[in-house]
């Protein structure tokens, strides 16, 4: 086994800070309580799940009441994906029996971080039973040789 390419100190520092930022973001998300909706933007935040396998990262997002042709998946930088989808119909707080908030929602929107390096440009998408599945092949930049 051999090293595929040498990494510069800047690459290593970039990765280090990116990793720190991700850890901080994960920590922040566990500490800060916030609603799963944004009244001003008329958006709800969907549930999502990220699974890392040895070869790829599989992201699933639960998008109920969504129009399939409205789903947009955009890479934001090297490790973030933004997902936006329009709903088949407007949903109001009153539909859930809530009367102390006013507002209606017509979009599902979220951003999520991918925890390991991936090829964003090789993203594969599938939508089935209201679940969006995003498959991202992992980048293995180097291997450690066995002495």
């Amino acid at each position: 086994m051999s090293t595929k390419r040498k990494r510069s100190i800047m690459d290593i520092l970039d990765d280090y800070f990116e990793e720190l930022e991700e850890k901080f973001e994960r920590w922040r998300e566990t500490l800060i309580e916030r609603p799963s909706w944004n009244q001003k933007a008329c958006e709800m935040e969907p549930l999502r799940y990220v699974r890392v396998t040895p070869t790829e990262v599989i992201v699933t997002v639960d998008l109920p009441l969504t129009k399939e042709n409205s789903i947009q998946v955009k890479p934001v930088g090297r490790s973030t994906i933004e997902i936006l989808a329009s709903m088949k119909r407007k949903v109001r707080f009153s539909d859930f029996g809530i009367t102390h908030h006013k507002g209606e929602f017509q979009k599902l929107h979220c951003q999520l971080r991918v925890p390991v390096p991936v090829y964003m440009d090789k993203m594969g998408l599938r939508f089935k039973k209201g679940i969006l599945e995003i498959r991202l092949p992992r980048k293995h930049q180097y291997t450690i040789p066995i002495e």
Partner: protein, 248 residues
């Protein structure tokens, strides 16, 4: 009953009832199924839990406060439902209190409704229902009804404690688990677990409405699912995927 947990009765409690449990867990299968049972069978609140072990939280329904863990019922069914996940540290005491109470009320059988997550759930054409039982007799009863049983493995959560406690006190009990999503509300799996319940007990409900409203339920249940995920993680729910070392 533990002094820290009181079960306050609001109505007369029937004897010889089947006691069901629908608590937040994978796919929210139990809670969605329980909510559908309450609606379809017109079950009314007969009792509720009052305990400082629970989160300082009430549920407002039609402007009035309710405990997050309530027992609904009719002449032959008791159904314990929690509208918010129970913390790992309180599960033992809550389940003990509910089981002791059910035993005192002469419940003839206890059945927990829950889920078992599968990979690629969205590709599954049919969802199987499995069962685990508290005794060899119950295991046979389940198998005789054609429901597959879980023979080896770990089970984590309220349904696990329910089975063990019932086994200890000799109360017939089973846990029904429908294949489901791990982290997403799964009304389709709830419909399947209700079919399993009908097979076991004859308690039948129409699940068409549950499937029809599936997408709305998924949207509405996001927040409870998110909090349930956090509790599942703290109680190491993923251990259910582990392969056990069988000690004979």
């Amino acid at each position: 009953m533990s002094e820290e947990i009181k079960i306050i009765e609001k109505k007369e409690i029937p004897s010889d009832a089947i006691m069901l449990f629908g608590f937040p867990d994978v796919g929210l299968v139990g809670v969605i199924a329980a909510s559908h049972l309450v609606e379809q069978l017109n079950l009314v609140e007969v009792a509720y839990i009052d305990s400082k072990l629970l989160q300082p939280l009430i549920v407002l329904h039609e402007g009035l406060p309710h405990s997050s863990i309530r027992i609904f019922g009719n002449h032959n069914i008791l159904l314990a439902v929690s509208e918010t996940p129970i913390s790992a540290s309180a599960i033992y005491q809550i389940m003990d209190a509910l089981i002791d109470w059910g035993k005192n009320k002469k419940a003839k059988m206890m059945i927990s409704l829950s889920g078992i997550p599968i990979e690629d759930r969205q590709d599954a054409k049919e969802l199987k229902v499995f069962a685990a039982a508290s005794s060899p007799e119950m295991l046979k009863k389940v198998q005789d009804k054609g429901i597959e049983t879980l023979m080896e493995g770990y089970m984590v959560g309220p349904q696990a404690i329910m089975l063990l406690r019932c086994a200890q006190i000799g109360l017939p009990a089973i846990t029904l688990l429908a294949q489901c999503f791990l982290n997403y509300p799964d009304p389709e799996a709830a419909a399947e677990v209700l079919k399993g319940l009908a097979t076991m007990t004859g308690v039948k409900v129409d699940t068409a409405k549950l499937l029809e409203k599936g997408e709305e339920i998924r949207l509405k249940a996001r927040d409870v699912m998110k909090r349930t995920q956090q509790e599942m993680s703290s109680m190491k729910k993923s251990q259910e995927y582990d392969i056990p070392v069988y000690v004979s």
